[in-house]
Subunit: 335 residues, 4 copies
């Protein structure tokens, strides 16, 4: 069973470490975090090594694959180290906030055959994957429109917002990747609009938006629409609608249970949506580890690769430019 180390023991790193530890086909090799107590806690709980340095966590002989869940600013360095060490790597999104850095890294690692996987976990959600597969197999004829609704249950902490790189690079990036995945074609044009409705003061200060609509068009005219909000009080709203010449497919929201309540004045009341990504995409995170394990074992490319990470970032950049320019941005303008 491949032994995987986890870099970064924050909320997402911990979740990945737990998933790997309990995965029937993977082993947790150890963890690393610059914040020693976080790493100690996770290492202790699973009885695994607490590596002294990131380099050790990557290069150790006891490590067959590396999962990067550290702050974004370190992704490029650790990703490059992993590739240089010949260690398959699963990197959380985004690769970097700067497309230039990513393009430079792309040049430096060109030609590598070390599997690189990007953490676009939503591709592995059973519902999202099912609609994509149904569309890909022609169940709704030719695909015409992809409608992605993606709203967080509540505003992230100020500190996160201030350094996230902006909503398009931090939040929409998942939906931009999902749009590419669903469309099955590259996106030619991007139009975005952003508003400050949830926390105008914070958004003003960060030059960011909390409520956005993005329209994407492929060369053949297929369309995708993404609607995002930083705060949906009814929970983590995650839906995908595929519309085509032969019908429509919808991947709906998930709830804690399938109970409905019927009371005076309110019928069919369903349970709240699953709160956030760790619950909502729990099965997807598990499946993601499974795909990574397969890449480690087979040496074959991962199902979501470096270029997917680069293109999602490029689309996020196009969104920012579109909002600023008030016009469609061609992806060829960004390069």
């Amino acid at each position: 069973m491949p032994r995987i180390s986890v870099l970064g023991c924050g909320r997402i790193g911990r979740m990945h470490a737990d998933n790997i530890a309990s995965h029937p086909r993977a082993e947790l090799a150890g963890v690393f975090d610059v914040h020693a107590p976080s790493a100690e806690d996770v290492a202790g709980r699973h009885g695994v090594e607490n590596f002294a340095t990131a380099d050790e966590a990557i290069t150790s002989d006891t490590v067959d694959g590396v999962l990067i869940a550290t702050p974004t600013s370190t992704h490029v360095e650790f990703l490059e180290s992993s590739v240089n060490a010949g260690k398959p790597v699963l990197c959380e999104k985004p690769i970097d906030l700067s497309l230039a850095h990513v393009n430079a890294l792309k040049a430096r690692i060109a030609g590598t055959d070390v599997p690189i996987m990007l953490g676009f976990v939503r591709r592995f959600d059973p519902g999202h994957a099912a609609v994509r597969n149904a569309a890909a197999s022609g169940e709704i004829g030719e695909l015409h429109q992809v409608i992605i609704t993606s709203r967080d249950p509540g505003m992230a902490p100020d500190g996160y917002i201030e350094t996230s790189g902006g909503i398009f690079r931090d939040m929409t990036i998942h939906d931009l990747d999902l749009a590419r995945f669903m469309l099955g074609e590259e996106i030619a044009e991007v139009f975005a609009t952003g508003s400050r409705l949830v926390d105008p003061e914070l958004m003003e200060r960060c030059n960011d938006y909390d409520t956005v609509v993005v329209t994407l068009v492929t060369d053949s005219g297929k369309q995708a629409v993404i609607t995002n909000s930083r705060e949906a009080v009814y929970g983590y709203d995650q839906r995908v609608e595929l519309f085509g010449s032969g019908g429509m497919l919808i991947s709906g929201n998930r709830r804690e249970n399938l109970v409905t309540k019927h009371l005076a004045g309110a019928t069919n009341v369903a349970a709240p949506l699953q709160h956030f990504f760790i619950e909502r995409y729990g099965e997807a995170f598990d499946a993601e580890i499974g795909h990574f394990v397969e890449s480690i074992e087979s040496g074959a490319p991962a199902p979501v690769g470096f270029e997917d990470g680069r293109l999602a970032l490029l689309l996020a950049e196009a969104c920012f430019e579109s909002v600023a320019a008030g016009r469609t941005i061609k992806t060829s303008e960004i390069g």
Copy 2:
């Protein structure tokens, strides 16, 4: 266009009069009620005759068909008069509270070819009719179980309960007819249980039940279950489930509109159920008049006839006996 008179201008009579008046293929000939102001009001509103006597409302040359919506105790008399006058008749359920009276009437009108229709309106509900037709055409293979849920939105007035003939003859009788309609086979055995949970004091006083479960079995072993309550605070709960060797069909509840609300702590909140039978079965009441009109025009038997009314009453009688005896009652015991 057939001219139809309406006997009885209470809530149901008024509704029928309005439906006939606005029906594209029928005309309201006039109305009658022993309570003059009620009849005057309806006659005045539609500009039609206010017949002086029930007999006139039945025998007048201006009347092609008769709709009986008077109190139950008068049904037998008016039904017989209509048949004797050669006037097709649509009679609200039940024919009478006494099976003996109904059997006697049956003997007296034996051989008549005047169309007699019973007001088992639920047969004409678009949803209920659709599941019955789907089952009859084999869409779920052989039918095995029929599950009827039927709960009123609130307890009827005390005066109504005291003279209704009891829950089985007044309320369950609709479901007993629906069970026969859905099963497509005669019922051989009846088991019923009744409880006093909504208004125990009133039920005790009337020797009645407000919460009942009825199990019906045909000779071939098909089963039907009816659950009734006099009071569902979430509205008029009317569902039919057909289960067979090839699948299941469900005719669901109807709401004012198809809006859902998604709020903090409660998602998918649907509108209240349509309040009561006049709204819930509005399309069905319209369709019922249409079928009656066809019988008047063609002289052919109506889709729900006298014998359907008699058998539903017989089953209601069996329910009472079953509760009293704590055992299955064979319909052949009642006769």
Copy 3:
């Protein structure tokens, strides 16, 4: 009861004539159509006058109000005649294909107090009206996003497409009005994208689109998204989603009945969507006549007026310009 004449006896005119004839508070005064047999048919069916000319149908003393359902090119003339005759008028959308013509008419009828109502029927749908009222009364806090899905069940005939004025003026115009209605604020910016995916050859020939996405933004940053297609094989897809700081409201699709089928391999199979606008918006067309009747009786302005018709057309014009220019169009640019 106000007597209303109907100009135009095509599909929509016939429907309006029928609705008026059976409306409890209105009377059908007569009809007119340049195609005599169509008018004769409707007049004959309802036993009403077949006016010799449009002018007669407008000015006759027997006419209290005028409903215009003739081809778009005649709307301006008949609307103006009605206003000049002092007859309240209900005009099908759009007022005209040319915003210049509409602006000129606006100038000519400035100051009139004759009620003018535009046929944006969707405002009167029970579901759409319910979500709008709920939002307006603060049930979801501040409104942030309006998502309108509007797809026809099938491509209109070639002849219709060739003269419709294009998808934005013919089809999207309903959704543009609905967006204004739901937002409760004027739209400041329009972005639109159009594709030719359903019938590329026809669209090419007509310089039109069959699949579009429109993004609308108000001055305060509220957003609306409209997705249209000329052909949804699963039926007439009509949904409105309102998202706000306090929750989400959805007005969903309507079906023939509320039956679900549960078969091997496919559960919860619901009935097809109601086929097209005459069924889907049947209750709304009825309510529309009711509002028109009230305006006739009271002389008060109708709930959807001339300016609503002009602004919807202005937005449609902005859509065409946005597609051509690949950029956001400010409504102030169009005037």
Copy 4:
């Protein structure tokens, strides 16, 4: 972490062994099966002991708790051995096919404080547990009716049916326990009816039924209805409806994912139901182990005890008698 041995390595035993092995708070101590290869397979897969005898698997010092998943005929013996060895025990249902044997065992182990838990796993389903808790906390006022729908996806193998003890003891027993759990009151009267509709020949031969309806009534008049079928072609149909003076709660079916398909002629098509109990009640089986672990650790009684197992069997016996007698059986008649 408590070390638990599993007796029986058939389908259910294997599942339990896997669940215990991957449970964060339990350890798989080893397994036993009279069929050696089955035990070897499971033991090998998890690297645990393959006990030579059931006695060893119960009494070994390395065993803190015992899970009995062997054929029903051995339950009494292994349960008694576990109690005598002072080992907490989780026994699959039913305790035995004979109520007399169970009563005798009850007498022999009277006074023991060794935790005994019965495998009525449905109590731990998130949906079923949620409606029960909501009802228990008064969310629907006084409980009046419990409607349990429970249909298997397909007929079990002939061999299983022939030795299962009949549908009431083998299949309905789960629903009988669930009814007691939901009602929160003991059942006073039982009425059951059974038909042979799925496989009449097999049912005739086994003197069994494949399609049953059971009505249960408590002393206070609360009612429960169970409808069972051995074969629902649309999947494993598992629903609970609680109806009370203040509303209704429904625990609905579970599907593989939340995808809906909208095609020509069929909208809202949902995924098939989860196939069978191992998937459908997966979370419940996990929770069951968690409760057993707590009992082992604390020595406190388990949430479903021996008496629950005995009473469910008593109700199953009453069902058989009711079918035979065609009358209500009072539970006091069975004892």
